[in-house]
Amino acid sequence: METLISPLALLGRRSLAAFAAIGRVALFFLSTLSHMARPPFYFKELLQAIISIGYFSLPVVGLTAIFTGGALALQIYSGGARFNAEAVVPQIVAIGMVRELGPVLVGLMIAARVTSSVAAEIATMKVTEQIDALVTLSTDPMKYLTVPRVLAALITVPLLVALGDVVGIMGGFLVATERLGFNPAGYLQNTWDFLEALDIISSLVKGAVFGGISALMGCYYGMNSGRGAQGVGRATKSSVVAAAVLILAANFLLTQAFFTI
């Protein structure tokens, strides 16, 4: 139980703890990279992770994107009407989905779906001594558990983002053509003409970074779980919060890096 202390002291304590945590996460990240580069490689585990992280995330990504794209079209249409700019719907939906909403929403959905399950699974393995058992069976948990999940996220989340971008634009397209009276061929032409390569590259890069953050946070909090069921619960909660906050912060930094020239 935490006793009540002054908010200022709490803030100080929390920021010190946060800096220490950032250091530990950075070390964990470097260690993951170095394990990625050295054998043994566990391909079967990688394949399993690709299926559970990538394939099984398809429905949730599709649903998120289609509703968001549709809502975006409605918003831009009604907002644009205030200064007679209803016609920009295709362009703004495209840029909004590809640059911003596609990667961020997919990233947050992955944090909800993948980070939580990875953290809970690894934390349970930790509290039931399965991680210790792995080590005694000459298998490095970083190589066997962390590397396949992080690699799988780095590979699949950009693809999920690409899919989210397309489905989101489709959602906008459906709403614009069915409800707002846009011409289908003109809508697609406008979307296609407007998007630049950098928009798409930034989208995919964001996807890779957010995927990496999601998997890494799940593994980190899982591996460092406290004891018992309470430890697992706490690890899972912290991993999702950390992944979500890091994704939003990274999104800001990446947007700044790509689009302020």
Binding site: R38, P40, Y42, E129, A133, V135, T136, L137, S138, T139
Partner: protein, 252 residues
């Protein structure tokens, strides 16, 4: 073969090991007894390098285990060990036979899948489990069966050093007898060095060459099994007789 000198370990303010001195010779069977929470499991984990002691020396086969080593050397070190964890610690993502054959399916002991499965089934047989268990998942087994699968996994690659953490806890007396015999066989036939933790005095008498009793973070008594009953240490006597009266505090 294995020697611990003055090993200390604390978790936060909880000082669990307060100077453990132990040794086992090659091909001998040491049994560690002692109350719950006295640090018996922690002691085994220190030897395996799963927990880093705060102070003291642990030597296995003439080499200290605490020094940092390369990944390769560490793998070679661990390849000599088999360990049965107190909670069995089976991988619940894979069927029983893959748990048992885990070491035989990757790394430098890797062999064809069919052969690994054959060995796994044979080891399961040795712990009294039929081939029908091989394809079940750990979650489908009772606690006692999980324990025996863990035992089969520990001996699967014929290690030279084997640790058993409470191998008979949760087993019926007949199965406990079978497991005691198996452990005895592994030591006498395979010439393995064994450390077993148990609360079960029948097991102690069946398995042990040497006995060590841990109390309050130290080895309270140690010696050959033949001398155990004649020993005058009141702590040891209380433990052997299972009496509530004696120097070991029981909170009631």
């Amino acid at each position: 073969m294995i020697e611990l000198r003055n090993v200390h370990k604390a978790f936060g303010s909880k000082h669990v090991l307060r100077g453990i001195d132990l040794s086992v010779d090659q091909g001998r069977s040491l049994v560690i007894i002692g109350g719950s929470g006295t640090g018996k499991s922690v002691t085994l984990k220190c030897i395996l390098g799963l927990i880093r002691p705060d102070a003291g020396e642990i030597i296995v086969g003439g080499e200290p285990v605490t020094t940092a080593r390369s990944a390769k050397a560490r793998e070679a070190f661990l390849a000599r060990f088999g360990m049965l964890f107190q909670g069995a610690a089976l991988f619940d993502s894979m069927p029983v036979w893959q748990n048992v054959a885990f070491r035989l399916m990757r790394g430098h002991l890797k062999r064809p899948k069919a052969e690994a499965r054959e060995i796994a089934v044979a080891k399961l047989q040795r712990v009294g489990l039929g081939p029908d268990v091989a394809d079940l998942y750990p979650a489908e087994l009772s606690g006692g069966m999980q324990k025996r699968v863990g035992l089969a996994r520990a001996i699967a690659a014929d290690p030279e050093i084997i640790f058993f953490d409470e191998p008979t806890t949760g087993l019926d007396p007949i199965m406990a007898g079978v497991i005691n015999e198996l452990i005895r066989e592994i030591v006498t036939e395979m010439g393995a060095t064994a450390i077993t933790i148990t609360h079960d005095m029948t097991s102690v008498r069946a398995i042990a060459d040497e006995v060590a009793m841990i109390h309050a973070g130290k080895v309270r008594w140690s010696g050959p099994i033949a001398k155990m009953d004649a020993a005058t240490d009141p702590y040891l006597q209380q433990f052997i007789t299972g009496s509530a009266e004696g120097p070991i505090e029981t909170l009631r």
